[in-house]
């Protein structure tokens, strides 16, 4: 039927990941934002370097695949990954993607300073986690059940003290793992409302182009080709959970014959392999050159 392309967000960035990215693309980022991507561990302490770095890497990989005549039927990005996905689906131009991600990173960096972040619970269902969250959540200690990466892997977003309380409850109630993760903002919760408002206003000025490629939205897990849905997702996914499990389940219902995970990392291809035997790989498994070789070989049959 075609290919499903997956675009991860922050988490697996690492020094040297941009080594194959051509100079002119790095320069383009500099010209549009004034940011020099240095691709070092030091740089990846900074949210702007991380977000622009990952987007740039994904733009580069998309360009390479498309140049080889390889195209997706359906795309899905996780959090920041929506911009790589919308670029791959030809809904968003390269320059617009870079500008808007720069804006997003700046807003997120300034949104919260200390005491807010995210956690993850493994081994409990969303309903179970929501029940625990309800026991803790209050106006002074807000916490939300956020991203759904799989049926039993649910993220938490909010004030760190509240997240810690939910983590303790989760451990007592049979979770296999419950811990804080290294994200300094309460992403994908209502606490990001101000950021989303500004970002949405900026997105109104950008042209979203209709396309034949199907786009999976974070905020509902549904597939769409509507420019309004896509614009909403790009601007507002930060205030909604990422319904990644639903996104991938929907993608699988289109019976793709190949699933590709763009860099960095291979967390999502591992998750897919637990529920589908469709040929799935991460570009990071082989590197870009070998990945292209394999993709072209499979395309020929």
């Amino acid at each position: 039927m075609g290919e499903f392309w997956m675009f991860p967000g922050q988490g697996y960035q690492h020094a040297g990941m941009l080594q194959n990215v051509p100079r002119n693309l790095i320069d383009k980022v500099y010209d549009l934002t004034g940011i020099e991507l240095t691709d070092t561990d030091e740089a990846y302490q900074d949210s702007i370097q991380i977000q622009l770095g990952i987007l740039t890497l994904q733009i580069y990989q998309v360009n390479r695949l498309k140049k080889a005549g390889i195209n997706p039927q359906i795309v899905g990005g996780h959090s920041l990954g929506v911009f790589g996905a919308a670029y791959a689906a030809e809904n968003l131009r390269c320059e617009d993607a870079i500008r808007i991600v720069y804006q997003r990173a700046k807003l997120m960096q300034n949104a919260y300073h200390d005491g807010y972040g995210m956690g993850v619970v493994v081994g409990l269902s969303r309903t179970q986690v929501e029940q625990l969250v309800a026991q803790v959540d209050s106006p002074t200690e807000p916490v939300f059940a956020s991203n759904q990466n799989s049926a039993v892997q649910i993220a938490l977003s909010g004030k760190l003290t509240a997240i810690q309380k939910v983590i303790e409850l989760a451990k007592k109630n049979g979770a296999q793992t419950a811990k804080l993760i290294k994200v300094p903002v309460p992403s994908h919760s209502l606490l990001m409302k101000n950021v989303a408002q500004i970002l949405s206003a900026d997105l109104q000025k950008i042209q979203i182009v209709p396309s034949q490629i199907r786009y999976l939205t974070n905020y509902s897990g549904m597939v769409t080709q509507s420019v309004d849905d896509i614009r909403y997702d790009l601007g507002n996914n930060l205030v909604h959970p990422v319904y990644w499990e639903q996104m991938t389940d929907v993608a699988l219902e289109f019976s793709p014959d190949l699933i590709v995970e763009f860099s960095p990392g291979h967390a999502f291809s591992k998750l897919i392999k637990t529920k589908s035997d469709i040929r799935t790989f991460a570009i990071d498994d082989y590197g870009i050159e070998d990945s292209l070789f394999l993709l072209e070989k499979w395309k020929r049959g």
């Binding site: 493994v122 081994g123 049979g174 979770a175 296999q176 793992t177």
Partner: protein, 99 residues
């Protein structure tokens, strides 16, 4: 990787060592050794963390039904509780059959 240890008060003496199960994903192996200790010991090495409570439940039930007295060593590779119970019961059958 997690190491779990349990002790049980049991009566039925095991005379010969027994080995059942396989080293494979979703499965486990159970090694049973005769013991002179007053209590039965169960030592589990598992790749899936966070299932201590479930292990305890499976073992409680098993030793309530079949109070075998021995040292149990279990190497687990992500078996479901059903498979764990099957392997323990197979070890039990082999022990009783051996008598």
């Amino acid at each position: 990787m997690e190491k779990l240890n349990y002790k049980f008060d049991t009566q039925e003496e095991v005379k010969e060592p027994v080995h059942v199960g396989v080293v494979a994903s979703g499965d486990l192996e159970v090694l049973v050794y005769p013991t002179t200790d007053p209590q039965t010991t169960v030592e589990i090495v598992t790749g899936s963390d966070g299932f201590g409570e479930v292990w305890k439940n499976v073992l409680d039930r098993f030793f309530a039904r079949y109070p075998l007295h021995a040292d149990f060593k279990i190497n687990d590779f992500g078996a479901t509780p059903g498979v764990v119970n099957l392997r323990l019961a197979q070890a039990m059958e082999e022990i009783k059959h051996g008598e």
